[in-house]
Symmetry: C2
Subunit: 374 residues, 2 copies
Amino acid sequence: MSVTPPHRSVRVDLGDRSYDILIGPGLIARAGAEIAARRPQVRCAVITDTNVASAHLGALTASLEKAGIDAEPLVLEPGEKTKCFDELIRVCDHTLGARLERGDVVLALGGGVIGDLAGFAAGIVRRGMRFIQVPTSLLAQVDSSVGGKTGINVSHGKNLIGVFHQPDLVLADTDVLDSLPLREFRAGYAEMAKYGLIDRPDFFAWLEANWREVFSGGEARIHAIAKSCQAKADVVAADERESGARALLNLGHTFGHALEAATGYDGKRLVHGEGVAIGMVLAHQFSARMNLASPDDADRVERHLKEVGLPTRMSDIEGGLPGTDILMTHIAQDKKVQRGALTFILTHGVGRSFIADDVPQDEVFRFLEDKRAS
Amino acid sequence: MSVTPPHRSVRVDLGDRSYDILIGPGLIARAGAEIAARRPQVRCAVITDTNVASAHLGALTASLEKAGIDAEPLVLEPGEKTKCFDELIRVCDHTLGARLERGDVVLALGGGVIGDLAGFAAGIVRRGMRFIQVPTSLLAQVDSSVGGKTGINVSHGKNLIGVFHQPDLVLADTDVLDSLPLREFRAGYAEMAKYGLIDRPDFFAWLEANWREVFSGGEARIHAIAKSCQAKADVVAADERESGARALLNLGHTFGHALEAATGYDGKRLVHGEGVAIGMVLAHQFSARMNLASPDDADRVERHLKEVGLPTRMSDIEGGLPGTDILMTHIAQDKKVQRGALTFILTHGVGRSFIADDVPQDEVFRFLEDKRAS
Ligand SMILES: NC(=O)c1ccc[n+]([C@@H]2O[C@H](COP(=O)([O-])OP(=O)(O)OC[C@H]3O[C@@H](n4cnc5c(N)ncnc54)[C@H](O)[C@@H]3O)[C@@H](O)[C@H]2O)c1
Ligand SMILES: NC(=O)c1ccc[n+]([C@@H]2O[C@H](COP(=O)([O-])OP(=O)(O)OC[C@H]3O[C@@H](n4cnc5c(N)ncnc54)[C@H](O)[C@@H]3O)[C@@H](O)[C@H]2O)c1
Ligand SMILES: [Zn+2]
Ligand SMILES: [Zn+2]
């Protein structure tokens, strides 16, 4: 009797740091078996947040324990503020206190916040432990759990402290997304659309036609997540440490990060993927203004993101924004700055993004001044 | 007119992470020129401690500024306690506050404490900046500045949090050692002797004959430092991430770390190299007790280290030690533990060390009980 696996598998090709992303339903229940098959007798520190814990921690620890894997859970507060030095110290302390050794595992069960924080801890405890991602938000499944970027925020800016530390395995259980608030699902969808906008125009067109099925679940959702993971895996394999092409993944992110900073990383006002959605529209509009792309493409992008329910304009952010000079400071402090000149991801149109250095600061300033009013 | 460089050069071979160690007099005065030749227009955060700053910071910053390199100094308290999360955060904050970019440099001017702390910060700020070591203690010149191990101490133990982050350049100015307290020079000498004890019996014999010249300076000192750097570079090139042979560098360190922990990392009672000296004698004595080596070798090692003025017995530590059960806890928490079995570096004699796993805990316990009285 032969059984086909119930999930898709995407390989991230990084030599001796290669790993698999499994995508499909029921993977939390299979987590223990999948991990034990790869690393028998391993022990796990399971890092999660209260939202995810109440819905999925029990199922995960049951699955681990059934496979003979000792699980030591640590449940943190949800939200972007958890990505800070204090919580990093807590995760390190928990992992050491549980007497985990170098070959043992830090497992992130949660969204990008938990993944980035736990991954950073895994990268520095004992100078690098094993790391497994069980992403539970759409954003984490299609983006943050793949590629090994980890980090925390500090007063100088977002994600300014961290390491590259690749996971050993990613288990993206597509069922868990049903407990995700719709707003968070939409935010993750923005990153999914991003892959189309960077260099896969066909995928963007497919999403325009099929986004409702992606939201409702089933095969279309699994397909779209696998496509997105493949897109990210390709970029990461070509440029693990973001010395070149990987920067394309920052489409919409320089503007987006500035908006997140300007709203004090207050998830009630703006979550990461929403900032990216507005940022991607701005990147297309700015490209049009610089005569690099047609304004029709910017309109098309805005139309689609708006249709799925994402914010697309700065004026969509409740509570107002600080002055444009403050936004510019956040943009300049963003880490994609080289020797003072601004580096942006701009585009020649849908699916035709490129890295532009030497973007004139004053052009960006005037553009933002004009746009914030609209 | 041809000029021979006034220094030796040792290459650490790590593919695209390879780098040079320059060893010789006057290198602080040449630092600006050496750095500018490799990375023109770079900016530097210079991390140091008050002891080193008063003797050498002025000379370094003058040299950097003469070469057109902007230097942003941060002067910390000296001592092992500085290797902690709070100071790590300070160094990160200083570096970001100075608006250094990814291609800019964190420069460590100091002993192993400053090197380990600043190197860790360099490894995590913007997920990895350039890093230059200007080691000023003998221990840092022959050991800690080479090989890319960085880290801090936490309540669970020493160096349990950190990253591997290779420097881009190491400048070991042999003149600066003249301001080093004799006790610290001796401590560094213990690590130098270690290379002979691991696998270079001729070098150990050379040190027995020439140690006075090494202490007094000049050619013998430069030679011994270059020999030591070469020994460390060879091990690091063969096993960058300590998955195998690099563990040999821990000769004397499992015992040594336990003694440091047991004295609360109080440098007045015991500095790192002194712990290593006692630890190396213990490793040789324990090997003899296990019938792996002749007791004559242990005596020879003890005689030499004692002759240069290093402590060689637990009873040499002022203020007494906690119970052997506490020492054993520190030994078991040491990161060289695999699945509960103790891994030690033992020896078949001078220059014939090897990695022993499965060392019985109770044998170690009884050995320590016997030895602490002697
Ligand atoms: N490392 C990378 O490459 C990378 C890439 C993109 C984004 N990020 C980071 O990811 C973070 C954003 O990720 P996120 O949007 O997943 O944020 P998040 O982790 O805060 O998750 C969003 C919210 O959804 C909740 N949640 C998650 N899964 C759930 C589930 N299955 N059921 C119910 N609630 C659930 C969380 O508790 C949280 O309240 C940001 O910090 C961003 O910087 C990192
Ligand atoms: N990263 C590694 O591979 C590695 C290897 C061995 C040791 N270490 C670490 O190194 C540390 C010990 O290094 P250390 O012995 O250099 O300690 P240290 O940095 O504390 O220096 C010892 C003392 O000498 C002073 N000093 C240093 N240079 C001086 C100079 N030229 N003139 C006057 N005073 C000077 C310092 O201020 C300090 O008081 C420990 O934390 C240990 O864990 C790391
Ligand atoms: Zn993103
Ligand atoms: Zn040492």
